[in-house]
């Protein structure tokens, strides 16, 4: 029987005295960080700060001397109905994808965290979509969703006729979300699975001895101990949802109409199709602020709950 309560022995004092450097641990000299810091500053920090500045100018992507225009780009963006629709679509997608992807990921993790023989094959199979290129996944689902295609024919069997998922403005956004959730649920699964495997078996055994069934063990033992993976998963899926681009461009290109336009696809159109680089950057700033605020808020919420 493992003695969990026994404290580990203290290292002999003599050893500490004779080998002071090793006993204190490997101390990394601060200047070791200089190359990384220099790279980060040159490649990330300076362009980011400059980018934010350009959001307040009229830069067209080619002229050397942009003029400062204050909040004009932001005001102009929020005056156009396309931006409002893209913002609404992005928020809806972030909410639905985050909830569904993590719920499915959790269910899959619970399923493959078992002793069944094929668990490793299943884990690989369920994780496979994650490593696929989003554009390829988009094209694949575009084919599956085609009217009279495989999914439409399946729908006919259950009495849903004339299904046009990606071509109908009412359903197109849900079709795109299915594509994203299908691809990323395996990612959430892996993180939840890692969390589940970190839970000591003894706790579940003890709960089982106390008469707790599978569901009760999950609700009262496993779930509370999955808070950290949950926070990681929610943060990652939120960030991914806010910058959703590839799957939208591959499946619907923001259409039909503007029904699947997201902030990221609008950013692309503003910058690279319309030559409104400053408006594009302003949209990038909006996405950044939204992602930061929501991620920070949810992490704070979970931290407060943990503290309580």
């Amino acid at each position: 029987m493992t003695t969990l309560t026994q404290a580990p022995p203290t290292p002999p004092a003599q050893r500490t005295a004779t080998r002071p450097v090793r006993a204190k641990g490997f101390g990394t000299p601060p200047w070791f960080a200089v190359p990384a810091f220099a790279f980060f500053t040159a490649i990330v920090a300076i362009p980011t700060v400059l980018g934010v500045y350009y959001a307040f100018t009229n830069w067209d992507g080619i002229s050397a001397a942009p003029v400062f225009v204050g909040l004009d780009n932001f005001i102009q963006l929020f005056k156009t109905p396309e931006t409002i629709q893209a913002l609404g679509n992005t928020l809806l997608m972030a909410l639905v994808i985050t909830v569904a992807q993590n719920a499915i990921g959790l269910a899959l993790a619970a399923g493959v965290n078992s002793r069944i023989k094929s668990r490793n094959v299943l884990r690989t199979f369920l994780f496979a979509p994650v490593v696929m290129t989003p554009i390829i996944v988009g094209y694949l689902w575009q084919f599956l969703f085609i009217p009279n295609g495989p999914i439409a024919r399946l729908a006919e069997v259950v009495g849903i006729h004339n299904l046009n998922v990606l071509g109908d403005p009412a359903t197109a956004i849900w079709g795109v979300m299915v594509v994203v959730i299908w691809q990323h649920a395996g990612y959430s699964m892996v993180i939840f699975l890692a969390g589940m495997q970190g839970i000591p078996e003894e706790i579940n055994e003890a709960a089982a001895l106390d008469g707790a069934g599978v569901w009760k063990r999950f609700v009262h033992v496993t779930w509370p101990l999955l808070r950290t993976p949950l926070v990681i998963n929610i943060t990652l899926s939120l960030i991914m949802s806010f910058k959703l681009f590839d799957q939208v461009m591959a499946t619907t290109q923001g259409g039909p109409g503007y029904s699947t336009q997201t902030l990221s696809t609008l950013l692309y159109f503003e910058a690279f199709q319309f030559n409104h680089f400053s408006s594009g950057i302003a949209l990038g700033v909006i996405v950044f602020v939204l992602t930061a605020v929501i991620s920070f808020a949810q992490m704070r919420l979970f931290r407060d709950r943990n503290a309580a």
Binding site: Q6, P11, F26, I62, G167, D168, P256, G257
Partner: protein, 439 residues
């Protein structure tokens, strides 16, 4: 069981280096093939030094052009820098911005993006090519697309027709011929539909295909009212917002588009089909043909290698003599203002602009040279377009002359909504009219 573990500390390796090799250049080569006797630009011993040419990858005709030009000018060291379409614009634009651009650059016509002739020319990034031999004989419409304030900044050589590409054998089997009047088109649509097929497989999920038909019909209608309407708009003699010819024509064209939808000219749920999907419909015999730009032909040909394909322009009026060909302007070539070898760069563009090279370019890219050339060899798939081309009945696709790129995005979205029944013709017209004003 408790195991006493020694305090073993392992110094892990520290991976610090981050070497980022951003090699955008696809490949560099020094062409060395032999010149042919028919090459129009003769070897010039005065051309020497380095010459960098940037263009989109996957362009065998340009590869061949450089090879031949290099062979004619052995003193030149030509370096071709090819990029894919998703990185090309950002990469070359950054190079031009820093004064380190290539000598000869693949650019776009009009002002639709940051690498378009009028945008780069206006920003002083391109050499004024107005005095080059090809610029003087350039087709007026093509010239409009690459000029700004009377200066020519690029050479554009090929235009690609838009229209109905159909399976000739399927037409024969159904006992129909390409319609030459609008009512004939509607009757043909109905007749084909009765036989369980569709005449035109439309991939309205792909942006340009959603508005291609009404834009082409509007062009044809406007041409009957004023054959010079596009030239006037291109030169700024009229504005898109105020042009009665254009606005009335677009209105009628959108009405006709709705009539086509109701007559079953297209398959159901067109906004759920992409360009690739409709090509498969044609290849599998579910549709007689599809609406495409000729540059999309190779993909259709790949799906149906043995199919006999021909082209027809969609009629917008009740007179067969009103039929005109609508063509999309192709790409263009410019010389960088920061080029260190302008003489060689201009010589290469001049070589590309010779009638012989233009004709070969058109053939390689399923298009036609801008300047009507009666001797041009028409590909079999474009037989139906060849007659109109040789008669000089060609109009540019209006997109190229629209005042800003938002118009295109607006008309795509509005036409998709129209096809879905979520928008009216008036709604489309108002949105398009508004977009002409830009931001």
């Amino acid at each position: 069981m408790f195991h006493k573990k020694g305090a073993i500390r392992t110094l892990a390796g520290i991976a610090v280096s981050a070497v980022i090799a951003l090699t955008f250049a696809g490949c560099a080569s020094s062409p060395s093939s032999k010149s042919t006797s028919s090459d129009p630009v003769k070897s010039s011993s005065s051309l020497s030094g380095d010459l960098t040419v940037s263009y989109l990858s996957g362009n065998p005709f340009t590869d061949d052009t450089l090879k031949k030009f290099g062979a004619m000018n052995p003193g030149l060291k030509i370096r071709d820098v090819q990029s894919t379409s998703n990185t090309y614009q950002a990469q070359i634009r950054a190079q031009l911005d820093s004064g380190q651009g290539p000598d000869v650059i693949f650019i776009w016509t009009g002002s639709g993006n940051a690498m378009a002739a009028q945008i780069l020319g206006g920003a002083g990034k391109l050499v004024n090519l107005s005095n080059q031999p090809w610029a003087k004989s350039m087709d007026p419409a093509a010239k409009t697309l690459v000029s700004l304030n009377g200066k020519v900044y690029g050479l554009t050589t090929v235009q690609n027709p838009y229209g109905f590409f159909y399976n000739k054998d399927k037409m024969k089997e159904l006992g129909i011929t390409p319609p030459t009047t609008f009512s004939g088109l509607i009757n043909t649509c109905k007749a084909v539909r009765k036989k369980g097929l569709v005449l035109i497989a439309l991939g309205a999920q792909t942006g340009y295909l959603a508005y291609g038909i009404p834009a082409q019909l509007a062009n044809s209608i406007a041409y009957t009212k004023d054959p010079n309407y596009l030239t006037k708009l291109g030169k700024g003699e009229e504005t898109w917002t105020d042009s009665k010819v254009w606005n009335q024509s677009l209105s009628k064209a959108l009405d006709e588009y709705q009539t086509m939808i109701k007559a079953g000219c297209f398959q159901d749920n067109v906004t759920g089909y992409s360009e690739d999907a409709v090509k498969q419909m044609v290849a599998s015999g579910k549709a007689v043909g599809t609406y495409l730009i000729s540059a999309g032909l190779p993909a259709l040909r790949a799906l149906a290698p043995d199919m006999k394909i021909d082209f027809a322009t969609l009629p917008a009026t009740e007179k067969a003599s009103d039929l005109v060909l609508t063509a999309n302007p192709g790409s263009a070539w410019g010389v960088s203002a920061s080029s260190k070898n302008k003489a060689a760069a201009e010589a290469l563009v001049n070589y590309m602009g010779t009638p012989q090279r233009q004709a070969l370019d058109a053939q390689a890219n399923f298009g036609f040279p801008y300047t009507v050339n009666k001797d041009v060899k028409v590909p079999a798939e474009l037989t139906g377009a060849g007659k109109l081309y040789k008669e000089g009945k060609v109009l540019l696709f209006p997109t190229a002359l629209w005042p800003n790129p938002e118009v295109k995005q607006t008309i795509i979205a509005e036409c998709q909504n129209l096809l879905n029944g979520n928008e009216t013709v008036d709604g489309v017209l108002k949105a398009v009219q508004k977009s002409f004003g830009g931001k």
